[in-house]
């Protein structure tokens, strides 16, 4: 492999588990001397409730701890390392200044139960952010409480449920397209609904007929992702929403892919009643290796009574937390939401402004369509219409050489890229779902395209190279079957 790719080989450090490091008596901490009388638990607690020792706990010095975690970090691939086109996850750049802002002492040090009069800055930030998200989406009211997209789905579906129950029309089913994220059916069933799948049509979108057929009198809602997970805009969304409403249902939009739409259209104009946002996708807050995210929810006015408590209200110059909301669905988590994540999203919106957000969406569309155009002669494109922010290929052309989407993904690592999302959406056999985001310079896209083209050639000429990939990572392909057959989920001495 020549040096035109980001992926090179370098020294990789070994690192044992925490529990295999350190030695008796080593310390990584310093505590102030006790300035009051020392009280031992034996003096005041029943003896049988007292722990003798923290068995198995590490004993390490500060330098060992830092080396341990530095080595671990070096085995990770993040957006700051390079191109991370993980479809549907919107792995855009995480602005550094926002990390600093979330750590400002008046914000990071604020206790959730401190009196409102000394929390005005934090409350104003949340109040403004709710309004910004409302403006960007065209929804009337927003709650910031849900911790992540899936919890947003739960909160949103509970509001629909409460609204329908109030109307004396509780219903039993939820329609979910076959292209949906797994969280949609899981959240629906958590709300006690039976899930009915709706097939997308040959163009990869929902057809009004398909929805009409399934939209029976006991259907509470349709959950739709727009743009959907094929990266296609649900072009019939308004007609579909009209059908659902005519038959007494509500329309829930999964906003995981909102990064395609900012400033270009309003979800609120599409007949959508509830929408969740993923701040860790669209609004650039870090994904954190799996979280924390934040999943605010926007609703139309008729659902505002059902928002989780507390709701932030403004009276004169002062902001307050209002718990007196008799129709509220209650709380989906403690306190007010992932505030530290909200600070970062707020800073992002203030930095970009209306024009910047619109440009972010347009460039995300440009980058995705560019990759789509450059790769469509090399990989099978199951739906051949222009895409939004991501494009979905399949491994069909490569499979005749015995090479799968998984092999292609693993080989990409050797070239220095994070692989796309694979085997999702489920409607595409052997899917490769590529979402470049707006954060990439043209050279990164060209390098990635070059690597993908080269891998397509390797699939023909040296398929073994792909099946054995990756070759340059800390570990080679891992035995997932073993991990599931004999789960080892913790260290033991």
């Amino acid at each position: 492999m020549k040096e035109e790719w980001p992926g090179a080989c370098g020294l990789v450090m070994n690192e044992p588990l925490l529990f295999e490091r350190g030695a008796r008596g080593r310390k990584g901490y310093s505590l102030p001397a006790l300035d009051v009388e020392k009280v031992r638990p034996e003096k005041i607690w029943p003896r049988k409730w007292i722990r003798q020792e923290l068995e198995g706990f590490p004993e390490m010095s500060e330098v060992e701890i830092i080396r341990h975690f530095t080595h671990l970090s070096q085995w990770n691939y993040g957006v700051d390392a390079g191109f991370y086109p993980l479809g549907s996850c919107t792995m855009k750049y995480n602005p550094k200044v926002n990390e600093d802002l979330a750590r400002l002492p008046g914000l990071a040090g604020a206790h959730p139960y401190q009196p409102e009069e000394i929390s005005q800055g934090a409350l104003k930030l949340m109040y403004d952010l709710e309004r910004f998200l409302g403006e960007i989406s065209g929804m009337d009211r927003v709650t910031l409480q849900p911790s992540a997209g899936a919890q947003g789905e739960l909160a949103g579906m509970l509001m629909i449920r409460a609204y329908l129950a109030d109307r004396g029309d509780p219903r039993k089913k939820v329609l979910v397209p076959d292209t949906a994220h797994g969280t949609n059916p899981a959240s629906s069933s958590l709300c006690g609904y039976q899930v009915v799948q709706v097939k997308s049509n040959e163009r990869g979108v929902l057809s009004p007929q398909a929805v009409e057929e399934k939209m029976e009198a006991d259907v509470a809602a349709l959950m739709v992702t727009n743009p959907n997970t094929l990266g296609l805009f649900e072009e019939n969304i308004c007609q579909v929403a009209e059908i659902v409403h005519r038959k007494g249902g509500q329309v829930y939009c999964d906003g995981a892919n909102l990064n395609a739409l900012m400033g270009l259209t309003l979800v609120g104009d599409m007949g959508v009643d509830v929408l969740h946002f993923n701040l860790h996708k669209t609004f650039s807050t870090p994904h954190g290796g799996g979280g924390p995210g934040a999943g605010p929810v926007g609703v139309k006015a008729h659902l505002a009574h059902y928002l989780p408590v507390p709701v932030i209200i403004q009276k004169g110059e002062q902001f307050h937390l209002d718990y007196d909301r008799p129709k509220s669905i209650g709380k989906v988590r403690s306190f007010y939401g992932n505030f530290g994540v909200l600070v970062r999203a707020y800073a992002y919106i203030l930095t970009l402004g209306a024009e910047g957000l619109k440009k972010a969406s347009l460039v995300a569309l440009l980058n995705a369509n560019y990759i789509r155009a450059k790769l469509k002669d090399h990989y099978h494109l199951p739906y051949d219409s222009p895409c939004m922010h991501e494009c979905v290929f399949s491994d069909r052309l490569q499979s005749k050489y015995g090479v799968t989407a998984l092999d292609i993904a693993k080989r990409l690592m050797d070239y220095g890229f994070h692989p796309p999302t694979i085997y999702f959406p489920l409607v595409v056999h052997g899917a490769l779902m590529i979402e470049p985001t707006e954060s990439e310079p043209k050279e990164a896209l060209d390098q990635f395209i070059g690597a993908m083209v080269r891998i397509a050639r390797e699939a023909e000429t040296e398929p073994g190279l792909l099946r054995d990939a990756p070759h340059k990572t800390k570990v080679s392909r891992l035995d997932e079957v073993l991990a599931n057959r004999k789960p080892v989920l913790r260290w033991r001495p």
Partner: protein, 448 residues
């Protein structure tokens, strides 16, 4: 725009490649009727310098920084060693996502495996997951899991479980038609176990007890476990202040079946209530019913140790509507903070720190009892309930004017507690801080 690298020249050549004339024309993929004809109304974009200045002003506005806070109640103000944030700021950790591709995610995976191990050691459980959103949703997920395992409609909560955990659990269980009964507390401050014994029957899935409870009092988990298990129900132990586990017998050893809690106290800032990190641990037998992600150990093709997401057939991306939970994104970075914190304190430090908290709590109890009454007699860790002889809102207001946030008035959650305030003391309070609180309280009470 510094976060969007492609300049006009780059864009032009790319547009050419896809056969589109202008960047704005890409919006033509959208149906004409839906295209936005106006600009969004948002504040004009700020430069980095303006942004820092503005957020700085929000941070200072009415900020609680100049006051001494004795607030706890599920969010604990412990000292954060510098190493924690230095590790968190390594962007290889925070700019990665869920480790779907294990070969280039070994750092996150090994860290979660270590986190799972420490949680097991602290709770006395066999398995722990890679984290859930927070302590409250962890309790809710535990009640749902007990229902999956037992198939019974009823569960009981001690009223001394954090009120927000109870509220969240109600939200989660209501649509499934589950019943949640509440058991009151005794005059000593623990759950009324006699009442619990009367209430639990064969139709009960689970009993939830918090340790130490919301009033800071220690509970008899062993008894509670016996009462629950005698009727075939599970005991869920909820932990809000996990530092207490450094001194307390692990709930698993005392008979708990599921141990969940809030991990914020370990290395995570208060941050106005989030992001925090819920932990979830249970007996091995319940593994396949657990919510959330799990990391497991395995080997690569050369036989080297490595880690992967394991037992994923419980999860939404595979099982969809039949999944054990809808959770996808969790709190991995907060779990990393907890891990670094626990490694830093280590075996000795965590215990010493817990003893400091206990000692300061006892000192504060003694000093404050000179001007109020301790509401409960049960032993406590670092929190306790104080009854004021004067109207709490006005006393708290007066204390605030003197730079002291005295604690949480409990009336909001317990209407019967009109004069009670929940006070928390940690290593961050010096003897002088506690003395100042006691003296100010004495002066105010005398004046009233």
């Amino acid at each position: 725009m510094r976060y969007i690298p492609n300049a006009e020249a780059d864009r032009d050549s790319m547009l050419k490649a896809i056969g589109v004339e202008r960047l704005e024309d890409l919006a033509n993929i959208l149906p004409e009727s839906l295209r936005l004809k106006k600009e969004l109304v948002l504040p004009p974009p700020l430069s980095e310098m303006e942004l820092v200045h503005y957020l700085g002003s929000l941070s200072e506005e009415g900020s609680g920084q100049k006051t001494i806070s004795f607030l706890g109640a599920g969010a604990y103000d412990h000292y954060l060693p510098a190493v924690v944030d230095h590790v968190l700021r390594r962007s290889e950790f925070y700019t990665a996502y869920t480790p779907y591709q294990p070969e280039i995610s070994q750092g996150t995976l090994q860290a979660i495996f270590e986190f799972q191990t420490l949680i097991c050691q602290l709770t006395g459980m066999d398995v722990a997951n890679a984290s859930v959103y927070d302590g409250a949703s962890a309790v809710a997920e535990a009640v749902l899991m007990a229902h999956r395992l037992k198939g019974k409609k009823k569960s009981f909560f001690s009223r001394a479980v954090h009120p927000e955990s109870r509220m969240v659990t109600r939200t989660y269980t209501h649509p499934l038609g589950l019943e949640l009964g509440e058991i009151s507390y005794t005059s000593a401050g623990g759950t009324d176990l006699e009442a619990l014994r009367q209430a639990v029957d064969e139709e009960t899935s689970a009993v939830v007890i918090q340790q130490p409870n919301f009033f800071g009092c220690l509970e008899d988990l062993e008894q509670a476990a016996k009462i629950a298990q005698d009727k075939g129900a599970l005991l869920i132990a909820a932990v809000a202040e996990p530092l207490s586990l450094a001194l307390l017998q692990p709930p698993g050893i005392l008979g708990a079946d599921i141990v969940v809690g809030e991990g914020q106290a370990f290395g995570n800032a208060l941050s106005f209530g989030g992001p925090y990190v819920g932990f979830f641990a249970c007996k091995e037998a319940f593994l396949r019913s657990m919510p959330g992600r799990l990391v497991g150990q395995t080997i690569d093709r050369q036989g080297r140790r490595g880690f992967v997401l394991a037992v994923a057939t419980r999860e939404q991306h595979i099982r969809r509507e039949k999944a054990t939970s809808n959770i996808c994104t969790n709190q991995a970075l907060c779990a990393l903070a907890a891990l670094v914190y626990l490694a830093t304190l280590g075996k000795q430090g965590l215990r010493e720190l817990a003893e400091i908290n206990l000692s300061k709590g006892e000192y504060a109890k003694k000093r404050l009892a000179e001007h109020g009454r301790l509401r409960f007699s049960a032993p406590t860790f670092n929190e306790f309930v104080l009854t004021f002889d004067a109207d709490p809102p006005s006393v708290l207001q007066s204390l605030l004017r003197e730079g002291i946030m005295a604690g949480l008035p409990l009336k909001r959650f317990y209407p019967e507690m009109e004069r009670e305030v929940l006070v928390c003391v940690t290593e961050k309070h010096s003897k002088g801080d506690i003395d100042r609180f006691a003296a100010a309280l004495g002066n105010i009470i005398r004046r009233k």
